[in-house]
Symmetry: C2
Subunit: 333 residues, 2 copies
């Protein structure tokens, strides 16, 4: 899978990394995978895809969360972060993951770190039936600072064209917004978190929480559908938080009215807001504040969502052109 | 296409970069592209694929060539480098590109540099009918050294399962190896080149040559097939050079006998070898030495390849277990 020599990596260390990670990678193989580790490209059969399948692809990094991982350990976690972020990004369009490829670059290759990252990625891939199809590891001392590692990943999934989300034409004022709980800030807002950590004394518990991986919502969305609730639209709360991600899946004449008192904002976010004395306009534009995926459903489907443990956090409202697309009401403090 | 806020990028600069690059990205759209810039994931219809299509995917970087680009300018070139490297990696398995996604990360976002890189990628994508389907740009001051930029890309292509290369069972001793000329060291061996540049005074011409982008061989291979010559196997001469890449596509009982006097090694490689007083065993393991793609064809097909301007650089030979897989003969000096 990985062409170490390509980027000037020490061949022996590269080979050692491949050896350490090969079992984890192989564990993600699905029936559609036709290639072995070491091929120029990974091979994936389309035989299992629907006749009207659309491929949905996304590339992402985990941002400055890698710095926190470098300082405190937790490389498996950022590997899982990367996969799950990608899984959720394509889930928003209704796609299920097919395969994933990674890029790991560093100033000096440490095979054990690469293997930990890949083990974390492989675990997250296995959990959603996604093959870890390939990757590249690069050693670039002049480009990366000492001890730093950056990771990026690309996911390819598929969805039948008839089932693509959002179902924009079905969205209407009065639809209910369901909030699915997050496990941490996931992979967003870590530049601000880094500044706050520099100025404050985090507890070990706080550091653990900050390193908790991005959650995959594939299982939650599957459960919602199994209960008869077909989502009309999903918004993945990533960079830009509540305020910027919800409008991305709404038509121009609809906005979201959010009741800030409708879910328990986790203690970690409370601590971050307190440390920085941060206004709602900034915190809800930076972090997920405890809700990692927002799902718009018809009002009659609320009970099923609540029975699954999700919060009703607001509804869709009509907005005039140029009006506020996300209106925050109530108090979460 | 690009979620700037995700990785803590300055939003205004991120938006400016998107504006600068959006036209270039849009110019790569093919009929199969169903999504617009700004979607969570890029959408690509499978309607045009063969019934037995296999997806072939590869992730790559361009290694420390980015440092040379940072020092001398030439960001469009490394954008093209990245795409063409990926195109060639999947061409080895017979695949034609469908779509490409990029990751660009830096200590401090300079929209003009991002736009230049993306313009270079878009041009290389257009040339091979590949859609630039998505990407991510990240600003990570603590991870990247000042002024550094790293880029990684993922390509997804397809090939009918019946036409997958290498056709291992068809390979036999006596098959001829065709060498397709390279344009530069492409994207490999730049860590050693960097050391040599530090110790010597390169001419402007030498720097230009070193920054010449990785060549895409898709057109050359198409022309070969149009002339009736069906390749049995292709080896993309990337990291590990001649010595490591040719065996990757050969069965264990076949090796390659290469006549080093059969093509003109470009002056740039001669200069590098002279600067470092580098033995053939190292130079042919590090660089492409003027041949970027090696194609194995049946002996009766040699004339067509030669008529297209390619060199006959050697043949396949039987080797005993544990024998030398790539045998270098003759003198190129």
């Amino acid at each position: 899978m990985t062409e170490y020599a390509d980027a000037g990596v020490n061949i022996d260390e590269g080979n050692r990394a491949v050896k350490l990670m090969s079992e984890a990678v192989a564990s993600t193989n699905t029936d559609a995978v036709l290639s072995d580790l070491g091929a120029f490209g990974g091979l994936f059969s389309t035989a299992g895809l629907a006749g009207d399948a659309v491929l949905v692809a996304s590339t992402d990094g985990v941002g400055t969360k890698v710095e926190l991982a470098a300082r405190h350990g937790g490389w498996q976690g950022v590997g899982a972060d990367l996969v799950n972020h990608c899984v959720d990004d394509i889930l928003v369009q209704g796609a299920r993951p097919l395969f994933f490829l990674d890029y790991i670059a560093t100033a000096k290759l440490v095979p054990e770190i690469v293997a930990e990252i890949v083990t974390g990625m492989a675990g997250a891939c296995r959990a959603v039936g996604c093959a870890l199809l390939g990757g590249e590891t690069a050693e670039m001392p002049g480009v990366y600072t000492d001890g730093s590692v950056d990771i990026a990943g690309t996911i390819v999934g598929s969805v039948s064209q008839a089932e693509l989300w959002p179902r924009t034409e079905a969205l209407q004022a009065g639809d209910v917004l369901i909030g699915m709980a997050s496990d941490s800030p996931h992979t967003n807002g870590y530049s601000l978190i880094r500044l706050l950590l520099d100025q404050n004394e985090p507890t070990a518990e706080m550091v653990d929480w900050l390193l908790t991986p991005h959650k995959s919502y594939l299982g939650d969305v599957d459960a919602l559908r199994a209960a008869g609730t077909e989502p009309k639209a999903l918004a993945h709360i990533t960079g830009g938080g509540f305020l910027e991600n919800i409008p991305r899946v709404l038509p121009a004449d609809l906005g979201a009215s959010i009741d800030l008192g409708s879910w328990d904002v986790p203690q970690g976010f409370r601590t971050l807001v307190e440390w920085g004395d941060i206004a709602d306009g900034e915190s809800f534009r930076t972090w997920n504040m405890g809700i990692g995926m927002v799902v718009a459903v018809a009002a009659e489907h609320v009970d099923a969502a609540v029975a699954l443990g999700h919060a009703v956090i607001g509804r869709l409202v009509s907005v005039d052109e140029g009006g506020e697309r996300v209106q925050l009401h109530g108090d979460w403090r």
